[in-house]
């Protein structure tokens, strides 16, 4: 029985043999567990999983996402959340039950090209993702710059208990709104935004190395005007 603590794998590679209860990005043939993705395989006491290094964003209920309004009908806005399917924000959830297309204009509230911070209200195999902007902190993004990273890397941007995102925010004096879908809004001074954006790029490129927090701190503390993204 070969057990590997951590190793890099590609789809179809054997990760572990035995009996495990929790699996992620794994498929099982009898007692053998294979990876379905390119990533880092981890075998723990009760679980086998592969942390993927690439892949599309898979919406989950309650995820915070940044979306772009791309279209609207009488009853909902269509929102691009960089997922496999477009998401929808029902007009009713914004205007209330008394919503009437004749009286309430969708485009006055959110127009095509607007960016919004929203939460996934519902999503399952039978329908497109539904959004809500009904909580505190959700709604129109009126300032800042948007950066896109691979959604797989988002946990690294946030860090354990939010440590990484705090490092970036304090080091650059910016506010970051991180969408689980890989879109991140950076709000602050032009310099700060530039530094934060290069920090995010660094995290995306080196997400799988160990002392990332330190590297990011070094990058941010470099004097401004020297570091330039191409």
């Amino acid at each position: 029985m070969s057990e590997v603590k951590r190793k890099y794998v590609i789809p179809g590679e054997l990760v572990a043999e035995g009996s495990y209860r929790n699996v992620s990005n794994i498929f099982r043939v009898e007692q053998r567990y294979y990876s379905t993705r390119i990533g880092l395989a981890e075998v723990l006491e009760d679980s086998v999983r592969v942390i993927p290094l690439s892949g599309p964003y898979f919406p989950r209920v309650d995820d915070l996402v940044i979306g772009k309004i791309t279209d609207f009908s009488a009853f909902a806005w269509e929102v691009d959340i960089s997922a496999c399917l477009p998401a929808f924000l029902p007009a009713q959830s914004v205007f209330g039950r008394e919503y009437s297309p004749a009286r309430d204009s969708l485009t006055n509230k959110f127009a095509v090209g607007d960016l919004i911070v929203a939460r996934i209200a519902a999503f399952d195999r039978t329908r497109d993702p539904l959004l809500t902007v009904s909580d505190h902190g959700l709604g129109l993004v009126s300032s800042g710059e948007v950066v896109k990273i691979s959604p797989i890397k988002v946990p690294r941007v946030i860090g354990k208990k939010g440590t990484m995102i705090k490092t970036i925010e304090s080091g650059t004096n910016c506010r970051l709104t991180v969408g689980q879908n890989g879109l991140i809004v950076i709000d602050g001074s032009a310099e700060g935004i530039l530094k934060a954006a290069s920090a995010l790029k660094l995290i995306e490129e080196e997400a799988h190395i160990a002392d990332l927090n330190q590297k990011v701190q070094e990058l941010i503390s470099k004097t401004t005007g020297v570091e330039r993204n191409e």
């Binding site: 309004i69 269509e78 090209g113 960016l115 710059e145 948007v146």
Partner: protein, 275 residues
């Protein structure tokens, strides 16, 4: 909901572009008259008579030239054939679908063709072997591999570079209206290097080499092709917007001066190998 043909630019980004323009700048720290980095790789396809891959920023295009024996057209019995095609491959963009070319793709192909043909780049009278019976046909086929704005210029540069490097077999005319391949290879009869320069009208500013985002918000677009001796040989205005007369004149003179700069870059690539 209809499928989109190009990305929706966010209002925030639009505001950013506008504010930069007011300072004479564009995204990526470019000036109004700056092209993105241009790179050229030649001779990639050995089976072709000539080939080139051109990148302008992240737009990537490949052109291949094939020279074959053919029959001349009835109304031009002593001239060879020049056929130029351009295709945006579905691999190049999430908005490109497989299938017959749409109006944008057809326009692209025809504009590139005009730029090359009207400049007289290939002397088709030198492609005639037996008048009325046998001529050489030069095919230039261009495929867009990655879309990131300014397909007109990228496809044109790839085509003219590939043509400049192409060779054709030297044929000997024999009895009975036949031709024999002597086995020797000679360059195509090239007379000049036409260069296209595409400009966009962004908030009343004329900018060269529009990126994908700039193309999504531009009011109008204009492409001028010029040949070696400061002669304009083709032009195409596109998109539903209007240029003032002065803007057109400015665009034409920009195309000539910028065209000469790019001509030098491409010439150097052809002479040295790659850039």
């Amino acid at each position: 909901m209809a499928s989109k043909k190009s990305p929706v630019v966010t209002r925030i980004k639009r505001a950013q572009l506008t504010s930069l323009l007011s300072k004479g700048k564009r995204l990526g720290d470019r000036g109004l008259l700056d092209y993105r980095p241009i790179s050229v790789e030649i001779g990639v396809i050995e089976k072709a008579s000539g080939s080139a891959i051109v990148k302008i920023g992240n737009t990537k295009v490949i052109a291949g030239v094939k020279v074959q024996l053919d029959k001349p057209f009835e109304d031009t019995p002593d001239k060879g054939l020049l056929i130029v095609t351009a295709e945006v491959l579905p691999i190049a963009s999430p908005y490109a679908e497989p299938g017959p070319p749409d109006e944008d793709a057809v326009e692209l192909a025809r504009v590139v063709d005009r730029g090359i043909r009207e400049s007289g780049m290939i002397d088709v009278s030198k492609l005639c072997l037996i008048p009325g019976k046998k001529v050489l046909a030069v095919f230039v086929d261009i495929s867009v591999l990655n879309v990131d704005g300014n397909l007109f210029d990228a496809t044109s540069y790839a085509a003219v570079t590939a043509l400049s490097l192409s060779t054709m077999p030297k044929y000997q005319v024999e009895e009975g209206d036949t031709v024999k391949d002597t086995g020797e290879k000679v360059p195509l009869p090239i007379t000049n290097l036409p260069i296209s320069v595409t400009m966009a009208l962004l908030e009343n500013n004329l900018v060269v080499d529009p990126s994908l985002d700039e193309e999504s918000i531009m009011n109008a677009r204009i492409t001028f092709s010029s040949s070696d001796n400061n002669t304009l040989c083709a032009a195409q205005k596109g998109r539903p917007g209007g240029f003032s007369v002065d803007q057109i004149k400015l665009a034409a003179s920009t195309a000539l001066s910028k065209g000469e700069e790019i001509r030098q870059i491409l010439r150097r690539c052809v002479e040295n190998g790659t850039k």
